[in-house]
């Protein structure tokens, strides 16, 4: 539990190692911590991160009752493990990377460098006083069961792998049997050496392993009609065909809802619909299953197929906007496999694959080579039309190698149409329809109601979340992660997408993906049970506290939360679901009445630092610039600028923030009111290719802060006094330059007229 006021004891520790002692007047810093920082215990050490230095702090904690420590030494990114005192509130004053390493070692610079250091000591003292050690989210749920939605290869894999690790699984499949798309296949793309022939799908084996696994409960002909709760304490209503509903507890959810083939009816120019002998890849699997290793017969008249043409990228990689823009990735391999169905039963069948780029990554190359050895012909070509030709079909195409228009006869044509994810409704469209359905115009309302119903019917999870019933879509309707380094990070905590619902993929990839998703889901239930945050602040025990008595029900927090953590209660107050929260602080930044805080990060932990900074009057010619820097990208960039000794202005004071989204405008107005000359906001790239690890945080923060113009005007200040700049972690050289340019600009503008008020 966090310490009560009476038990608190504050201490400051000031390091004089790493040249800090030579470059700074450490005795004066001790005085600053005592006098301005009002720390009852202040110690100096020549090598604070050494075993002796750390032992000194530990001794104070153990024997002097120190509960709050302001460590003024190097950056919080350095010696992190050494200064780890889990039961103590710790702040870090960055005197090394943030002061002496960014200032020239000259007599001239000494005074302003010292002032910089003194401010960072004041700030560290102020910050730690406003902090407490997080006690953990009390609203934990105890369920460690995984709910897996979808019983295809992906869902079955997740279930089996999680069960093997000792976890209970509830597996929900909407059809009458497990197996999904894979069960419709005759064989699968090979998964191991020699990668030369199609393999058994493995579905039957998985189905029997699931039946035999006591950890797995299967619901067939069932859908999830309602999912309430939060990580560790989800309650899922599972409704079966008869209409009866069972409620299951779950700690985390894996959405393995699969895909459908792109509708070949949208491709009439390729003959689909006009002739039964034009099939999609699914249709060919059905024919191959019927043939079961014998000759494949064409649907129209049951004649043995003697010639077959595969048309790759049918309705895919489309640049006209009519069809799928993306490549489905697996279809080249599937066509190779399907061509082998013919060749393996009768080597005389003519098999031609028409492609623009053959895409068989990794060992797919061996499979491709094997097909060539079996006599499958591959031609780089663009197909323009498929038409009936008497008893057969004619395929018109441009041969891209010979650079000429030509045609081929075929008994059967297979269209590689690719996959469309079963990913639930687009939440943006749904939310827009919901807004429209509140219209007073009866016509608009009626239309919107239909639209809402239609979109809701597509829901896979039926979450009761205020922000919508499913995971938000990523590009092209897939439920993928936007992060290259973190492929499982969806925008709904403890709900992970697996398999082709999040990215087009073949069975081997889907099994790998589903195993990874099971890993994340298991991790989520374990951490939810301990009241700890999930990625990217894994293990963080803090959670948003809200003083409801001050809340004005403005709903900004519920709207802005990038992770859908906040619902509304029946009185329309925000209802925080702590275990859904990722601790970015966007709600705290959004709150106009400042009633939201974290124990270790709050309006006060930052606000008190701003207040602690000494702002010289207008005659001293020492401007003050506040920098609020994203702790993941901008702050490390500033640190590394220091490591490379790239100097920047001595007039800046940097405060790291969890995300630009957590920046509350009160910090801006307070800083301006107390005479700061300028404020730099450093956040990550936003927009389509955003790099914010809290998804929308930097964008929301920017939007919010773009509105401070009126405040500035009201104060009679120039709008340049608040400067928003996008920073990447690699901006080590350019960032100091940007700071210096801004400092010069402010100097030219003259001091803030607010000084001395």
């Amino acid at each position: 539990m966090s310490a009560t006021m009476a038990e608190k004891k504050h201490a400051a520790y000031i390091c004089s190692g790493c040249e800090l002692g030579a470059r700074l007047d450490v005795a004066a810093l001790v005085k600053t911590a005592t006098k301005d920082g009002k720390m009852p215990l202040v110690r100096e050490h020549a090598f604070l991160c050494s075993a002796e230095g750390v032992a000194m702090i530990q001794n104070d904690i153990d024997n002097e009752g120190v509960t709050h420590a302001a460590i003024c030494a190097c950056s919080r990114r350095s010696k992190t493990e050494a200064f780890n005192f889990p039961a103590t509130a710790v702040s870090r004053g960055n005197l090394r990377e943030g002061v002496i390493w960014v200032r020239p070692d000259t007599e001239e610079a000494r005074e302003t460098t010292q002032e910089m250091a003194e401010d960072y000591v004041r700030m560290a003292c102020a910050e730690v006083k406003a902090m407490s050690v997080p006690s953990g989210n009390p609203n934990v749920g105890g369920s460690k069961t995984l709910l897996v939605v979808g019983g295809g290869i992906s869902g079955m894999t997740s279930a089996l792998e999680a069960a093997k690790a000792g976890y209970k699984v509830v597996l929900v499949e909407k059809t009458g049997a497990l197996g999904g798309w894979a069960a419709q296949n005759y064989k699968r793309i090979p998964t191991r050496e020699p990668f030369k022939n199609p393999e058994d799908t493995g579905v039957a084996d998985m189905v029997s392993r699931i039946a035999a696994d006591a950890n797995i409960t299967v619901y067939l002909n069932a859908t999830v009609t309602k999912t309430a709760g939060a990580p560790g304490r989800f309650k899922a209503d599972i409704t079966v065909e008869s209409g009866s509903t069972v409620t299951e507890d779950a700690g985390a959810i894996i959405q393995a809802s699969g895909f459908t083939l792109y509708d070949a009816n949208k491709l009439p120019h390729l003959g689909y619909g006009a002739s039964p002998d034009v099939v999609d890849q699914g249709g060919l699997e059905t024919l191959a299953k019927v043939a079961n290793g014998g000759a494949i017969k064409r649907p129209s008249d049951g004649k043995e197929v003697k010639s077959v043409v595969f048309v790759q990228c049918a309705g895919q990689r489309d640049t006209t906007g009519e069809h799928l823009e993306y490549c489905s990735g697996y279809c080249c391999n599937v066509s190779v496999k399907q061509a082998m169905y013919f060749k393996d039963s009768n080597p005389d069948v003519e098999t031609v694959v028409l492609y623009t780029d053959l895409r068989l990554p990794g060992n797919g190359e061996d499979f491709y080579r094997s097909a060539q050895n079996k006599g499958v012909i591959f031609s780089k070509a663009k197909v323009s039309a498929v038409a009936a030709n008497g008893n057969g079909l004619i395929v018109n195409f441009k041969d891209l190698i010979l650079d000429e228009d030509t045609q081929a006869q075929a008994d059967l044509v297979v269209l590689a149409t690719g996959s469309v994810p079963t990913s639930g409704p687009d939440l943006d469209a749904l939310n827009a329809a919901v807004v429209a359905s509140e219209s007073k115009n009866a016509e608009i309302k009626a239309e919107a109601d239909i639209q809402v119903e239609k979109l809701r019917a597509k829901s896979v999870l039926n979450l009761t979340y205020r922000q919508g019933p499913d995971i938000p879509h990523f590009k092209h309707g897939f439920n993928d992660s936007h992060f290259i380094c973190f492929p499982y990070e969806t925008r709904r905590t403890a709900i992970y997408a697996a398999g082709p619902v999040r990215r087009p993929m073949d069975m081997l990839q889907a099994m790998e993906d589903a195993t990874g998703a099971a890993m994340k889901a298991i991790q989520a239930v374990e951490n939810a049970g301990l009241g700890k945050a999930a990625h990217p602040r894994a293990g963080d025990l803090s959670f948003p506290n809200v003083r409801l008595e001050g809340c004005t029900q403005c709903k900004r927090c519920t709207v802005e939360c990038p992770f859908g953590a906040i619902d509304e209660d029946e009185r329309r107050f925000p209802l925080f679901n702590e275990s859904r929260c990722r601790r970015c602080g966007t709600c705290m930044g959004a709150c106009p009445v400042r009633v939201i805080s974290f124990e270790n990060y709050s309006v006060n932990t930052v606000g008190s630092q701003i207040k602690a900074i000494n702002v010289p009057d207008e005659f001293e010619n020492k401007p003050r610039i506040l920098i609020l820097a994203c702790e993941n990208d901008a702050y490390p960039a500033l640190d590394m600028a220091g490591m490379n000794r790239h100097d920047y202005s001595a007039f800046v004071r940097v405060i790291p923030v969890r995300c630009l989204g957590s920046v509350n405008t009160i910090w801006i107005t307070d800083a301006l009111n107390s005479g700061f000359d300028g404020i730099m906001l450093m956040g990550c790239k936003h927009g389509e290719q955003y790099q914010c690890h809290f998804v929308k945080g930097s964008e929301l923060g920017r939007y919010r802060l773009s509105k401070v113009g009126d405040t500035l005007k009201g104060m009679g200040l120039e709008e340049e006094r608040v400067f928003d700049t996008e920073v990447a972690i690699t901006d080590i050289v350019t960032l100091p330059q940007r700071i210096n340019d801004y400092a010069a600009q402010l100097e030219a503008m003259g001091p803030s007229p607010m000084k001395g008020f």
Binding site: C74, S78, N84, E365, E512, T515, G539
Partner: protein, 430 residues
Amino acid sequence: MTSIVATNQTILVVGGGIAGMTAALEAAETGKQVVLVEKNPWLGGRTAQLYRYFPKMCHPTCGLEINLRRLKANPRIQVLTMAEVTEITGTAGDYSVNVTLSPRYVNSKCTACGDCSKAVSTEIADAFNYNLGKVKAAYLPHDMAYPQRYVLDPSIIGTADAEAAKAACKVDAIDLDQQTETLNLRAGAIVWATGWQPYAAEKITPYRYGEFKNVITNVEFERLADPHGPTRGKILRPSDGKEAKNVAFIQCAGSRDENHLRHCSRFCCMASLKQTHYVQEAFGDEGKSTIYYIDIRAIDRFEDFYQKVKANPNVSFVKSKVARISEDKNGDPRLWGVNTEGYKRYSEPHDLVVLAVGMEPAVKGMAIPAALSEGIAADSSGFLAMNGNTGVFGAGCATNALDVNRAVQSATAAALRAIQVVNQVARAEN
């Protein structure tokens, strides 16, 4: 002596690139004890040596920062750098592992102040920058190196330079007496995430890599484009430092070739498409890129990245396997071959040639410890494949030619497989 706490419920992760770090972090954040072993003096692997990622054009160091923060916050992971696994015995649920640690000559007291580097005069090839530049023999491998601790190159041990470094260190962090040591530790499960290496381009003899200075590899080009690389982000060609405004990219350099790598390395098409952005970024419309390719494999949702590059008038595509490269008098490499779309011969000079070399598993040719080979074995391409019951699991590019995203998925899956084994051990012991 280095001390490590490990039991038969510990997960050993071999390789500290993004796959190994991911496997270690995912397991540790689920409450497991992990020992992470890395051969280099720093974590991050080859992703840390990339300038940008496709398709977002974001910086790999951004994700590395998050992973390092996760690591620093997690006391369940013990990290051993400059360490290699030399022997494994035992079976799933009970392995005994020998790890050999090379001396760093710098202990944990190091504050990364840089005084030793200033005191040393010897320079060595800069391995982090693929030897394109030089660093002092007392060095921090790169700005985000973790552990944040300097390294003394063994070449200066016993010289006055080493003594100078020691004398310059105010915190007694330099220990010139450090020796190679071997640790023995227990583990219940092992994740093998030793990654990949760029295919040795000099083996593709018609391309004259190593002989023509202006023929470089794709991984080297990353360092040229990076502001922290040897040219501070300026794309200058090695022979004469001239700005390389006309750059040729040769795809499948070694890949999809039975004489070299049979497999398709998957990432290289996207990497070259990405690198055309570097040329554009550096020189605007004066920067011209030409991609010589067999198939452009911009798989699944990367397609639109390809379409955007294709729409750039400064980038051209030639469907051709380049036959050979010659060198003009001015140092320009000249490409010879046939454009198979229409069968036209070409002989084109460029300022610089970038070979899109493929991905070779680092385990290829490696002596895999005996117990390891029982459950897991390299296939004929050198990638690891699982064979039945084992407590050893491949992860990332040790198992297949993968891009970063897929390597991380693979590592996350491997973490669960390892957890299955140690959970079984835990259940048996309770």
